[in-house]
Symmetry: C2
Subunit: 226 residues, 2 copies
């Protein structure tokens, strides 16, 4: 089971799970996010990596969880420092808890035992639900919650990117033959999935390609690298 | 925040939260369950108890989580013993994890800090996600997952029924003036919310009224007590 948003991190996570020898079931969410172009990207990535199945689960998280990522009137962060303190406005209350809980439901139904999520060292200074302590605690909860956990052979939450920087993630994906032009990271991507080049997600992504020494394959709205 | 299915247990939980002095926000789920009459019951109970708001959140849990409770072709348990060993066929993979995660998202958005859930001693020999150990672990995970947990003043998962039998739950609700005729417990309730009188949920409920010495106000499909 792989949580697949269609962004760079989760696409790399899927490629790693496939390389680990897993038969991969990819799960995406249409949850009212602004960057809905990611869902089309997720579909393309799942096909390219050869996932056994890809599902997109719809839930109106925006109706109950306030965030700049789901509220069309809220400003999105731009030009903030990757090391800035505090929780960013794109934080969605309990998002990874909700996503992992739904992944757990499908994993138990499929008799899958490994749940891959692309949390990493770029995210977790800011997002509490990307920290290793949260992941460990969720794994424990999952094994208390479920038949599979109680009857033995419980779940493992796999975080293959946890110690990697953006450049490290990209280098790993390139080694595995992943085509990053299929992925969308931008908060303000247009319908064709082209990136704005200016939001924080675009800036961190571009810097990652620079630092990895890999040409940036991202399609930008302006037609060139901003 | 109160998880409100519209059954006897969650209705009592809501009455207790109101009695605790809480301004109550009740959350129900339309998740593809067979006993959809519960949702109408939840609406009536929320109004009767005076909840500040009641929301019904739709998610197609049946699409990813296999269970006799969501699969119309699966047989439902009847005439099994309340103390029977093992996990019942009505177990839905990760259901309470998913429901608590969504309640957590809404609670953080509302700045609520107490999440009430009606798990109790009747359920937890069978359902792993009704056990006190699961609840404690989820609370810990919730406080690692969220801004509120990280910044202090975290969440508490409240389980006021945890040590009660069905009769004890009913006695407490009657003390608080709860009208149990508004609630629906039956797995096979008809559109008017009338109970079959034969499934396990009906049998445990009727036995609870008997043991509490309270007349059973349930409307049965046969028109009388079976």
């Amino acid at each position: 089971m792989v949580l697949l948003s269609g962004g760079l991190d989760s696409a790399t996570t899927l490629a790693i799970a496939a390389h680990d020898g897993c038969r991969c079931f990819a799960l995406s969410f249409a949850y009212g996010q602004r960057n809905a172009a990611e869902i089309g990207a997720a579909r393309r990535v799942a096909a390219a990596v050869g996932a056994a199945e890809h599902r997109c689960f719809t839930l109106d998280l925006a109706a109950i969880a306030a965030s700049a990522l789901t509220d069309p009137s809220a400003p999105l962060p731009a030009n903030s420092d990757s090391g800035a303190a505090g929780i960013p406005p794109t934080y969605v209350p309990a998002r990874n808890t909700v996503f992992l809980a739904l992944a757990l439901a499908w994993a138990e139904t499929l008799d899958a035992r490994s749940i891959y999520i692309g949390v990493n060292a770029v995210d977790y200074p800011g997002y509490p639900d990307c920290r290793p302590r949260f992941i460990e605690s969720f794994e424990q909860t999952a094994n208390l919650a479920t038949r599979a956990g109680v009857e033995g052979g419980g779940f493992r939450i796999m975080t293959p990117l946890i110690a990697l920087t953006k450049a490290g993630i990209i280098s790993r994906g390139v080694e595995l033959g992943l085509d990053y032009s299929l992925t969308v990271s931008c908060y303000r991507a247009d319908e064709q999935g082209r990136a704005c080049g200016e939001c924080d997600a675009c800036r961190f992504r571009r810097r990652g390609f620079d630092e990895a020494g890999v040409p940036d394959p991202t399609a930008y709205q302006s037609g060139g690298v901003c």
